[in-house]
Amino acid sequence: MPTFTREEIMHLGNLARIALTEGEIDRMRGELNVIADSINMVQEVATEDVQPTANPVPLEAYLRPDVAAKPLTQEQALSGAPVKEHGMFVAPQILGEE
């Protein structure tokens, strides 16, 4: 049975790109372990012969008419950008220091 340790939650926070605070990690640890206990029971009935469901209303794939539609303008696409320059999004540096 999985249990959440401090290290694991820090690792998950890193994977999820959330700079969790120490207090959050402690609080979350207790809560997640309670939640995990209650959801582990799904394994009782999930036997090999049961097929998984991804979409509850499966549809046959179908083609739509190939009609050109107008996308957002560059100005609209940039309208919510936190930082923009010359019609482009500005991102912070991607790589850290050597």
């Binding site: 959330i18 969790l20 809560e31 309670v34 939640i35 959801i39 029971m41 799904v42 999930a46 540096q93």
Partner: protein, 510 residues
């Protein structure tokens, strides 16, 4: 007129507009007046779009009669929108700090359809952040108070839409329902809330929470009003790849048929696992009485068993956070929304910017679910958790298929309890999650379900009655729902809202 116009049903308002007894502008102004009077105590709205609503009403009123004749029955009737649905030019936040100030450059498909029907948008209603919660207490902005008791929650996540409709601030609203976010607030506020069949209403422009579960649906005070609204917003949309390529079902006709209160030949299945233990006695009592009324109208009532429902909550709390963690990855501080740079002693990289942005922009419940979902999808645990939950989903669908061999429509109480007090469950996530034990199964199985008021419990607070129908047969639940509503209103000698005290309407001049 003795009653104020805002207490009419949406269908009645639509009739009056069509017969020119009132203009759309007058309807909009009447509701804006109520909003102004009610908001200090109810706080259902995050944003009131008074100017836009008046412009839309004026545009309708200026149409020629031939043009008006082409429009749906609700043309000219205003509506409130859960702030989980994007509206071009009107700030849309999902009640999160991470989207504070975001003005979408496009409309959701449902919004386009409302605009085509000339239904003015009154504004955006409050919710739990990114629709994650069952009390609207997880909104990053403020609480919404239940109009039946201002010290209690209106349910969630769509507490704002439900409270606005209950308080007569709007005759109609849109919600989104991932695990009960339309139906449970409906139950707690004495209103009607519908989750259509998955794929029955386009999700394009609904901010994604858990894509295999999310569905947009109507919030109203009567069953017929929801049917009228669902026929307007429903039907195929090529911009949503899970949209069913069929027109809306004949729900208005089914609701009108139901109002005749003849249910002979209808088999109603009582879900054994969704009653009794865990349900408040006052909730169970109103439910049992309503079942007797269905029987009195000629319905045959049988008990059905869905043995895998006890695993539904567990499966939901794997699948939903997994999809949340994936969907909310888009809030990265790059293209829209909040950007927070790291403190000076931390390298100013894009990755660190994302981490500090998401730390500052998301609330506790959202973070909890992202972490849980990241875990469920991570290598080594995928099969044990996500894979198992998807199998439970299959078992629940099979349970429903078997139940629908024995009954045309299934019923249960919507929520185990009536409205609870603020703070009562915020410290205990599991207690909060249990609110949705009766509503989650319909999302997992993709079947349509709705909640209608079943009366007041012994604490004087509303109780919800849930109908569940087979996939793509939404009309099947509208008929008995309209019949039960009519029978209950006869027993009460009027609609449930006659028992609601509305001090904010006192002294208004209509």
């Amino acid at each position: 007129m003795s009653e104020p116009i805002v207490k009419l049903t949406a269908a009645q308002m639509g009739d009056m507009v069509r017969n020119k007894e009132v203009s759309s502008r007058e309807l909009v102004d009447a509701h804006l007046d109520v909003i102004e009077a009610a908001e200090p105590s109810v706080q259902a709205f995050l944003k009131v779009a008074a100017k836009e609503a008046r412009e839309q009403a004026d545009a309708y009123d200026a149409l020629r009669d031939e043009e008006k004749a082409e429009l749906p029955a609700l043309a000219g009737v205003p509506i409130a929108i859960k702030d989980m649905i994007v509206t071009k030019g009107i700030e849309t936040t999902a009640a999160s700090r991470i989207l504070e100030g975001w003005v979408p450059p496009y409309d959701a498909t449902v919004i386009e359809r409302l605009k085509a029907a000339h239904m003015p948008l009154l504004g955006k209603t409050n919710l739990d952040e990114f629709a994650q919660g069952s009390s609207t207490e997880h909104s990053a902005y403020h609480n919404t108070n239940n109009p039946w008791d201002l010290e209690r929650v209106p349910g969630g996540s769509g507490g704002g839409s439900a409270a606005a409709v209950a308080a007569f601030e709007a005759p109609l609203a849109l919600g989104t329902d991932t695990g009960g976010s339309i139906r449970q607030p409906g139950a707690l506020t004495g209103t009607v809330g519908v989750k259509p069949t998955y794929g029955g209403v386009s999700r394009y422009g609904a901010i994604a929470m858990a894509s295999s579960l999310d569905q947009i649906g109507p919030v109203s005070r009567t069953v017929l009003d929801s049917a009228l609204l669902q026929e307007i917003i429903g039907g195929n949309d090529r911009r949503d790849s899970t949209s069913i390529p069929e027109p809306p079902r004949p729900m208005v006709a089914a609701a009108r048929e139901g109002m005749k209160r003849d249910l002979k030949g209808l088999k109603v299945g009582l879900i054994k696992q969704l009653q009794g233990e865990g349900f408040q006695p006052g909730v169970q009592a109103r439910f049992d009485e309503a079942v007797k009324l269905l029987e009195a109208m000629g319905a045959e009532v049988v008990e059905v068993s869905c043995p895998h429902l006890e695993y539904a909550l567990g499966a939901y709390y794997i699948i939903m956070p997994s999809e949340v963690s994936s969907n909310l990855a888009r809030y990265d501080g790059m293209r829209y929304g909040l950007r927070v740079m790291p403190p000076v002693d931390v390298p100013q990289t894009a990755a660190n910017m994302m981490s500090y942005t998401r730390e500052a922009g998301f609330g506790d419940e959202v973070k909890r679910r992202i972490i849980l979902g990241t875990y469920a999808l991570s290598a080594g645990y995928y099969d044990a958790w996500y894979g198992s939950a998807q199998k439970v989903r299959t078992l629940i669908i099979e349970d429903f298929n078997n139940a629908f061999k024995q009954a045309d429509v299934l019923v249960s109480p919507t929520s185990p309890t009536t409205a609870f007090k603020f703070g009562e469950k915020t410290e205990d996530p599991m207690a909060m999650y249990l609110n949705d034990v009766a509503t989650i199964p319909a999302n997992l199985a993709g079947v349509p379900a709705m909640s209608i008021p079943a009366g007041l419990s012994d604490d004087g607070l509303p109780v919800g009655f849930q109908f569940i129908a087979p996939q793509q047969r939404d009309e099947v639940m509208y008929k008995p729902a309209a019949a039960l509503e009519a029978a209950l209103e006869e027993a009460w000698n009027g609609p449930i809202w006659q028992s609601l005290k509305t001090p904010w309407l006192d002294g208004m001049n209509k």
